[in-house]
């Protein structure tokens, strides 16, 4: 998955649209997703998925993996949301239980409210996820960084992010290489062996990271580093009437629907 989202964002069909527009659009939708009714959330999920899979041409398999991972999270939390427990003595049937099990002196049961709460939570989460995914798959990280710079995020943060972004891929490659080399030398045998090998990898990676840092400091000095990492904000974007129209109209329609439903 690592690097996959990054390269898809870089190759997506909506890459030419100004990143500010895309960010604003998805954040507005995210907000709506958090506060609206399940019906609106449902429509929102479908509509954003269309943006992601149809307009941006994100492979549906990848999008599905992201959604499935979130469903797994929802499922993981669902027992806590659905199951209620109380002492048999204190339990009364009229708790709206739609199912119940007796475990010794305890009763475990599911209420109608619990079920509807879990359902509405799922609707909200999936709608929000689709808005969030739209940013992931259509705005390359470099452009997120550019927007951060333009809206006045402190340079210390944007600098750190730039350095991190650059090094994440350098170090990932190194880590992968060490991992492969360990495998090639017959490593990763059993849990204890694998844990040890992971430790070795981390140590190697740490040493190499420090070496990289020292080299990078020297080469940055050679390039005139004083205290900042200022770079040119280079962007060649094109607005699209068609997409702007659809985004604005859709937003308005959904907001109206929400208002009409008594939001």
């Amino acid at each position: 998955m690592i690097g996959r989202i990054d390269s898809l964002a870089y190759e997506n069909r909506l890459k030419r649209l100004p990143p500010e527009q895309k960010l604003l659009f998805s954040l507005a939708m995210l907000l709506l997703a958090l506060i609206s009714h399940p019906l609106v959330q449902g429509i929102l999920f479908v509509w954003m998925s269309v943006w992601i899979v149809v307009y941006a041409r994100t492979p549906w398999r990848i999008y599905f993996v992201v959604v499935a991972a979130s469903v797994a999270f929802l499922l993981a939390g669902s027992p806590a949301l659905l199951l209620e427990a109380s002492r048999l003595a204190e339990w009364t049937r009229d708790d709206n239980a739609i199912a119940s099990w007796q475990l010794g002196s305890w009763v475990v049961y599911v209420t109608a409210e619990g079920l509807s709460r879990a359902m509405s939570l799922a609707a909200r989460s999936l709608a929000a996820l689709s808005c969030f995914s739209f940013i992931l798959f259509t705005v390359p990280f470099a452009e997120v960084l550019q927007v951060f710079r333009r809206i006045g995020i402190p340079s210390i943060l944007t600098d750190l992010m730039m350095i991190m972004y650059r090094f994440v891929f350098v170090l990932l490659e190194t880590a992968e290489q060490i991992w492969t080399a360990q495998k090639a030398r017959g490593g990763h045998r059993g849990t204890a062996g694998t844990l040890k090998d992971a430790g070795r990898l981390i140590v190697q990676l740490f040493i190499r990271t420090m070496a990289r840092y020292r080299q990078m400091y020297i080469s940055m000095t050679a390039r005139g580093f004083t205290d900042d990492f200022r770079v040119l904000v280079h962007a060649s974007h094109m607005r699209s009437k068609r997409y702007e129209w659809e985004a604005v109209a859709g937003c308005l329609l959904l907001a109206m629907l929400e208002w009409w439903m008594g939001g």
Partner: protein, 313 residues
């Protein structure tokens, strides 16, 4: 003999192809490692890294693998010892299809030693002796056997005096040799090397090649990927050329490098000695009277000097 493995059938006559095919079958028996129509695409990549690769590594030879960066050499190496598994096609070790269960894979990894391009990525432990022992420890051998093997290997490689040296204090040339020693301690039957001479200076290079010759003389088949055409010509018994995940040319060095048209298409140059030899006046070549193209500058200049000397006498 040189086989040009081409999809453009028009380039060859059927008869020649059939002859090649039968010859290949005969050779297949002698190959220690064979790739048969192997396809592999990295997850998320649009282009396959191996696109129906078929090749054989003849047992007991010093083989060289040529090709541009990105032609699939490293991917091929990772298939050879079972780290990657083909999407399609198969890898054969001594004529048997590689099986991908744990036990077999572990054995395969011991029989096929892989030395990576960057020694930094391969050296795992803190000191030289520890690192060399890594592969042995993974085989769960008794400690005294491990100790004995490590010492013996360090002696052969002449590195006993650095045994306790931390890896990061070694020079690049030394690191390369430790990486090699860490693989050779497992006594593999086939040694795969990915650009082992990059960044080495003349002296380090010479030492490294000597080491390889010693290893080969002791009975190990070697396959080395390199960009150094002159080294390839001077050193190899057998040359393989890959492009875009396929084998495009294979054969003895002279045969391969005489396919100028193909090499030019691949933007590979020919060895300097080879070019000079071909450009020499025919009379001179006859006078030198070597039955084959000299493999190295030393060999060529020795030949030239010999005739100069004979002119004087």
């Amino acid at each position: 003999m040189a086989f040009e493995v081409t999809t453009d059938a028009a380039e060859q006559t059927d008869a020649a192809e059939q002859a090649d095919a039968s010859e290949q079958t005969a050779r297949a028996a002698l190959d220690i490692l064979r790739f048969s129509f192997v396809h592999y695409t990295y997850p998320g990549a649009s282009q396959p890294a191996l696109n129906g690769l078929s090749l054989g590594v003849p047992a007991g030879k010093k083989c060289v693998l040529l090709g541009h960066n990105g032609c699939g050499k490293s991917t091929m190496f990772l298939h050879a010892n079972g780290i990657f598994r083909p999407n399609l096609g198969q890898v054969l070790w001594k004529g048997m299809a590689v099986s991908y269960d744990r036990a077999h894979l572990l054995k395969l990894k011991q029989k096929i030693g892989l030395v990576f391009q960057d020694p930094e990525q391969q050296l795992i432990a803190a000191t030289v002796a520890e690192d060399i022992s890594y592969g042995l420890c993974n085989q769960k051998l008794p400690e005294d056997v491990v100790r004995e093997k490590v010492y013996r290997t360090m002696e052969t490689f002449g590195m006993t005096e650095w045994a306790e040296t931390p890896i990061h204090r070694l020079s690049l040339g030394q690191k390369r040799r430790v990486a090699l020693a860490g693989v050779m301690v497992l006594e593999p039957e086939l040694l795969l090397l990915d650009e082992p001479t990059a960044y080495l200076d003349q002296e380090q290079m010479r030492n490294f090649v000597q080491e390889l010759d010693r290893i080969h003389a002791a009975g190990t088949t070697i396959l080395m990927a390199t960009h150094d055409i002159d080294l390839a010509f001077a050193w190899a018994d057998w040359v393989l050329v890959m492009e875009k995940g396929k084998l495009v040319l294979e054969g003895e060095p002279e045969a391969v490098f005489s396919r100028r048209d193909t090499l030019e298409r691949l933007q590979l140059r020919t060895p300097a000695v080879f070019d000079v030899w071909e450009a020499l006046p025919a009379a001179l070549r006859e006078e030198i009277g070597s039955s084959r193209v000299p493999r190295s500058v030393e060999e060529l200049t020795a030949g030239l000097r010999r005739i100069a000397a004979s002119c004087i006498t």
